[in-house]
Amino acid sequence: MTIRAEHEIHTRRRGRNLGIGLMLGGFVLLVMVLTYVKITNIDFNDLPGGAVQTQESS
């Protein structure tokens, strides 16, 4: 059986849950953007064997 009556506390909890949800969403978005920036700005010569690969390709 579900509780149908909406109590004021439910509205308050919804506000709190929404706030936490938005923060988690923001965190996921930040990690995505950070990953994109890290990958696109990486200097492959700094990786192990990176300099060797560059010499071979040139």
């Binding site: 004021e8 506390i9 308050r12 706030g19 936490i20 930040l30 990690v31 950070l34």
Partner: protein, 312 residues
């Protein structure tokens, strides 16, 4: 009228704002600002996204240490007027919740700073959290009247972390910014202790006012201010200083020194007569003092690429 945030059992249900208050937002502001200045004053540029994420994780780490401090100090916070309304002593947040939030956010912030910036910055953030939450809160604060002096280091690390985020290493300039906050902290808190009067006595926290008396505290404020003045003006001649910083530093340090001398000259009767007006003014000035010194360092760093900042 009923309290709208209580459950049917009458227990208060914490709101998001109560959890946020655990993180000491005002301290976080100072941490964010000084860490940002440390990062921007460094000679290496940082990608804006990396910079934003790094400063955010430093702020979360600072907040986490604040939550751990509130969890540990809930008993004395309940006694002191200044802190009695904090989330735990006022019953809005349970101690276990504060501990869980503090530990979880500490782990998250250190791990994420390591991924966003570098491992040295993450290590320094972890050290800062442990220094504040364990070394200062759990040990020093209730043990020695030098609690503020040594514990002040915790608040002084953020510009060093900011510098490491940008450069990946330590430097003299980063430690100068550290020293500025480190030397500023004792006069700032001792002025507060003078006009908060019985708070620390009641809570049995061995502040200098309690252990060595108020006359000695006034002498200590002056002594630390003299050392701070030398350091702050001397910093003006280093690579993070420049004409803007030096001008600001001279004006601010003259005002600060005058304030410290006035506090030193007064006795308790003078202070009681005007409800600690001079001490309160000195405390307010100390907030502007730090903000404007770091603001001047930021101005030098920002103008440097255009040929205005610094001495060159």
């Amino acid at each position: 009228m009923t309290d709208t945030s209580t459950t049917h059992s009458g227990e208060y249900e914490a709101q998001l704002g109560d959890y946020f208050a655990l993180l000491k937002p005002r301290v976080m502001q100072l941490v964010v600002f000084t860490a940002l200045v440390g990062m921007l004053a460094a000679p290496t540029s940082v990608h804006p996204v990396v910079a934003f994420a790094s400063i955010l994780f430093v702020a979360i780490g600072a907040g986490a240490s604040g939550a751990l401090n509130m969890w540990w100090d809930a008993d004395i916070d309940a006694i002191m007027r200044r802190t009695a309304n904090r989330p735990i002593p006022s019953g809005r947040v349970q101690p276990g919740e504060a501990l869980a939030i503090g530990v979880a956010l500490s782990g998250l912030s250190v791990m994420m700073l390591g991924l966003a910036a570098n491992l040295l910055a993450a290590g320094m953030l972890l050290f800062t959290i442990l220094f504040y939450a364990v070394f200062y809160s759990m040990w020093l604060k209730r043990l020695t009247p030098q609690n503020i002096v040594i514990g002040g280091a915790a608040g002084a690390f953020p510009p060093v972390i900011g510098w490491i985020i940008a450069t990946g290493s330590f430097s003299v300039e980063a430690w100068l910014m550290f020293a500025l906050i480190f030397m500023w902290t004792p006069p700032h808190f001792w002025a507060l202790a003078l006009f908060m009067r019985n708070d620390y006595d009641d809570a049995k926290v061995p502040m200098l006012t309690v252990t060595h008396g108020r006359r000695s505290t006034r002498r200590h404020i002056l002594a630390y201010t003299v050392l701070l003045v030398i350091l702050a003006i001397g910093t003006g001649f280093t690579s993070i200083g420049g004409p803007i910083y030096l001008t600001a530093a001279v004006v601010l340090n003259v005002l600060f020194l005058i304030g410290a001398i006035r506090i030193w000259k007064r006795d308790e009767d003078d202070s009681e007569a005007d409800n600690f007006l001079i001490e309160r003014k000195f405390f307010r000035l100390s907030l502007w003092y730090l903000f404007l010194h770091f603001g001047a360092i930021l101005a030098e760093a920002t103008l440097r690429p255009y040929g205005f900042g610094g001495w060159s």
